[in-house]
């Protein structure tokens, strides 16, 4: 696994942290809703210690939200998402900061993850099973025989060293950068990097994930996590996922929309604001909000290029399913028969990721001159 930054350096690290129940998509995008609830249940099993599991509420703030209720409940039933209506009084008892004028509330099994540790624990498990993970290392180019990739050129930013590594099959899982990587291999991936803004508040105002009971729109979710509540998001197409300029009006929109769910939002100082791009799969003539959140695996044999597969789209919630799909395709291409075990096997502690690297590094460091390495001691304080 080659990653140009630290683990979770890309979109995953900076997302909204919502372990989707699928409720958000159960009316507009049922394929993706079903993927979400299936994975939600699997993740509860394999990473129970890494999730805040307090459920979520879909609340009706306006009459039009209320009119959506029946479709929402039907959508949940169609996608086997457990959903039940709770009284407004109970919703307010559970959420003292919730807008007291809400008209209805439905409880669904949303949860909250922490993306960095989410990724670390998958990678720690992979390390334990023999994977090699190289962070701070960028893929700069492909090595091809005819048009078929047989390896990649990489550069380690920590040391400046470059090298070439070979592979029977190369998987492109570069999120919103997947198009860029595919282009290096001479194929195109129909991807539209679509950014979203989130605003984190200086304190936590909700226990459960709060959603507007309606079709997905801007600023309609407040995800609580640790000591903060995060309002999100917006959706617009961007050219360069590395440098997204946050439009100031998007920040204001988060506050003005968030306020409809939790009126105190405007009174609380802002802790942080961030934007990051989704790797959405393009469909001609569709608005960014309407693009499906489902995922897609492209075997580039269809483009006349062998040994190269792209996996993109999806959600962090469905990351494991994406890995399963791409691994199945790789196994099939390599004529290797193996059952997927990631549905069942509980993940290794995320801390093992760094501990393991520590052991390896200690070994490598013993060979390096210690005088090479500055250790900024305490006396340095200015």
């Amino acid at each position: 696994m080659i990653e140009r930054g630290e683990v979770a350096f890309g979109t995953t690290g900076r997302n909204h942290c919502l372990l989707h129940s699928g409720g958000r998509y159960c009316v507009t995008d049922q394929e993706s809703a079903i993927e979400c609830i299936d994975e939600n249940l699997i993740l509860r099993r394999i990473m129970p210690d890494l999730l805040e599991l307090n459920d979520g509420l879909f609340v009706a703030v306006t009459e039009s939200d209320l009119a959506f209720k029946e479709r929402f409940l039907e959508g949940c039933a169609a996608c086997h998402i457990p959903a039940h209506e709770v009284t407004v009084a109970r919703a307010l008892a559970m959420e003292p900061f919730l807008n007291p004028t809400i008209l209805a509330a439905i409880q669904i099994p949303d949860g909250v993850f922490e993306p960095f540790r989410f990724c670390l624990s998958f990678l720690a498990t992979a390390l334990k099973n023999g994977a090699t993970v190289r962070t701070f290392t960028e893929v700069t180019d492909f090595v091809c025989s005819d048009r078929n990739p047989t390896g990649v050129k990489i550069r380690d930013f920590r040391t400046g060293k470059t090298e070439t590594i070979g592979g029977d099959i190369i998987v492109n899982a570069a999120g919103p950068w997947a198009g860029e990587i595919a282009a290096k291999a001479g194929v195109s991936v129909p991807e539209v990097p679509t950014a979203g803004v989130m605003v984190a508040l200086d304190c936590r105002l909700n226990n459960m994930v709060l959603n507007r009971l309606n079709k997905p729109s801007d600023g309609d979710i407040v995800v609580p996590q640790r000591a903060t509540s995060v309002i999100g998001t917006t959706s617009w197409k961007v050219e360069d996922p590395d440098l997204i300029t946050i439009p100031p009006e998007h920040v204001e929109r988060m506050i003005s929309q968030g306020e409809k769910l939790i009126p105190t939002v405007r009174r609380v100082p802002m802790r942080a604001k961030m934007a990051v791009a989704r790797p959405l799969i393009a469909m001609t003539g569709t608005d960014a909000r309407e693009l499906s959140r489902t995922f897609e695996c492209f075997d580039h044999a269809r483009d006349g290029v062998n040994g190269f597969v792209t996996i993109t789209g999806g959600k962090t919630t469905t990351a494991r399913a994406m890995a399963e799909r791409v691994s199945d395709i790789v196994c099939q291409k390599l004529n290797h028969k193996a059952e997927c075990r990631t549905r069942e096997v509980p993940l290794t502690s995320y801390r093992f990721f760094f501990e393991r690297q520590n052991v390896l590094k200690r070994r490598a460091l013993a060979q390096l001159q210690t005088s090479d390495r500055p250790n900024i001691g305490f006396e340095e304080r200015t």
Binding site: E6, C17, G160, V268, M274, K361, I376
Partner: protein, 256 residues
């Protein structure tokens, strides 16, 4: 837009350490992490640094800004820039530098593992998480009854394992095996999640060890620097009190 000079610590194995100065064009509302990101994206892609969440949740981005340990994702540019001098960005202290702002965190995570504390816990109060939530929100706390058949809400622990307290701790500089503020705070939390006497004994044993709570000079720098209000210093003091009390009771032949 502002034009901001920023001075960044640089190091690659085999090369001498130095500071590079960059001038970045950036929005006045930016946070310091946006400055670092811009340097990397526009000026020098070989700059190595860590970050993920951009909102003080992952703990990976910790560095020193003008000498003080901070999470650049929650520090506003205008709070640390005086309009003239470059903002200085350096790696954490008391961690070996791998490259540029990147430090080796393996030892630190080994310490955090010692207490084998899970990162989820039961919410302490019903709401809020932080003591001053109500104050910040300008709302008076009300005692909320938990609705029937609802178990307590669960939460991630406050500590984001950012290492800031380790960098700010004067004891770390004199004893590099010191468990450190975050590790001891984790032992405290883990100890308060269990009644199992064997586990309590194990945890208190860790705290009581050669590199445990008695090494702390009570400088309280950790509590001062911690961005998450974990208050490791008070937790170290509480562990000391429990250990001292147990010793006393043992001396007088009482049950502990």
């Amino acid at each position: 837009m502002l034009t901001v000079p920023v001075e960044i610590f640089r190091f690659k194995p085999g090369q001498a350490q130095r500071y590079d100065t960059f001038t970045v064009e950036i929005a006045e509302t930016a946070h310091v992490i946006d400055v670092i990101d811009t340097v990397w994206a526009k000026h020098d892609p070989t700059l190595t640094f860590r970050r993920a969440c951009h909102h003080s949740s992952c703990g990976s981005c910790a560095v020193r800004i003008n000498g003080a340990e901070k999470l650049p994702c929650i520090v506003r540019l205008t709070d640390v820039w005086n309009g003239r001098n470059p903002i200085r960005i350096e790696p954490l202290r008391n961690f070996p530098v791998v490259s540029d702002l990147l430090v080796e965190v393996g030892d630190f995570f080994e310490r955090m593992s010692a207490a084998s504390m899970t990162i989820t816990c039961e919410a302490e109060g019903f709401l809020p998480l932080t003591v001053d939530t109500f104050a910040v929100a300008g709302v008076l706390p009300k005692t909320v009854e938990l609705p029937d058949n609802l178990s307590r809400f669960n939460r991630f622990e406050q500590c984001i394992e950012c290492g800031i307290c380790m960098s700010a701790c004067p004891t770390m500089a004199t004893d590099n095996k010191f468990i450190g503020p975050a590790g001891l705070a984790a032992i405290y939390q883990a100890r308060h999640k269990t009644d199992d006497p064997t586990r309590v004994k194990h945890l208190l044993g860790l705290a009581d060890g050669e590199h445990g709570v008695w090494r702390c000079h009570s400088a309280f720098e950790c509590t001062e620097a911690c961005p998450q209000a974990v208050d490791p210093a008070s937790k170290i003091m509480a562990l000391r009190r429990e250990l001292a009390l147990r010793r006393l009771r043992k001396m007088f032949g009482l049950r502990i």
